[in-house]
Symmetry: C2
Subunit: 211 residues, 2 copies
């Protein structure tokens, strides 16, 4: 996934010679805490936040130029950068948004942390049953019921609590992968459980075939 | 994971009768775009953003009370809520932060979207090799080299491009689960590939044993 796929294209820009009062109205109306500052070619030259505007107001500053950050002092990404780069930047630099530029340094979007949260959650908020279904096609010989039975047995072994295949099915019916990860306590544990289930399914199939 | 585990405890609060000028300095110094408004018992009664402060300055307002949001108009979560609730709220309401309260409605933290991004990324930024290692323990009989060989064969079948076990190993050596998901194009595809690898490993073991 590229930065261009998760960026917000509905952004505002301001120029360095604009009045602070004028841009504060724009930022309030559009509910933007941060805004790229561009030159007359729409190229990124700086960055302004609503906290710079409040300081400017208090100190009697008049223009964007008086309070903005220079381009070198802020983080920006290219529209063709991997989206993960924007994610890492946001988390590392603790910023709420990052300007996105094209080859000519023209601002083409802004990546906002809540967009990242949305993308990251949706990436993992896939129903577990959908993953099971996709795996079922590949597993061919293994039925849904066999999967549920093996899963219940593995879960019972690990937690020590009695769980039937029906309990297990009910529990995961509407769960997403994200929920499963949070519930099992991390990816590694989830995968180890999955392998154990896979092994058990095969062992039970072999035992059945021998009967 | 609970909200209390991902919230920022280093937050500021303001009271409704404080001067806008005074709190704007505090917000700028602490780099906070948003801040809970509390009563004298530290209970949540409202919310103020730096955009409300700029508007207040422009309109000649003096006090927090003149520009703040009432509690009913904002999203808040309980410290014992599942962390996923804060994530869903942030993504749904497009907010940069959410106040966290205890049973007495006292503000005990603030969940910020970049903290969520950090948590979400670290949850999935586990090295693929670590997952393989965890699975190896469970798989017992299967060696790392067997896994790499099977993975290379499956990858080659799917992409049509020649890939050796060494190529494959090199490629995933430093990759994280998050990268793998973004690269394979989604969870379902990742899991289907994993099953195919598992089946191939077993088939090759059986073939070897027969020789």
């Amino acid at each position: 996934m590229l930065v261009s796929e998760i960026m917000d294209k509905d952004f505002i820009v301001v120029s360095p010679d604009q009045d602070l009062e004028e841009i504060s109205i724009l930022m309030e109306e559009k509910r933007k805490f941060t805004t790229p500052v561009v030159d007359d070619q729409k190229r990124l030259i700086g960055w302004i936040t609503s906290l710079d505007v409040t300081r400017g107001f208090r100190e009697g500053k008049k223009k964007v130029n008086d309070v903005m950050y220079a381009k070198d002092d802020i983080v920006h990404v290219h529209q063709n950068d991997p989206a993960r780069l924007a994610v890492l930047n946001a988390s590392q630099h603790k910023v709420v948004s990052i300007p996105v530029v094209d080859d000519d340094e023209v601002v083409v979007g802004v990546v906002r942390t809540f967009d990242i949260v949305k993308t990251l959650s949706s990436l993992y908020e896939i129903k577990v049953t959908k993953i099971f279904e996709a795996m079922e096609d590949e597993l061919k010989g293994v039925s849904w019921d066999e999967l549920m039975e093996a899963s219940a047995i593995v879960t019972q072994r690990r937690t020590g609590k009695r769980v039937t295949a029906q309990d297990y099915e009910k529990r995961i019916k509407d769960a997403t992968f994200g929920e499963a990860i949070w519930a099992t306590g991390g990816l590694e544990k989830f995968f180890v459980g999955l392998i154990a289930i896979g092994e058990l399914v095969i062992a039970r199939k072999v035992a059945k075939a021998r009967k």
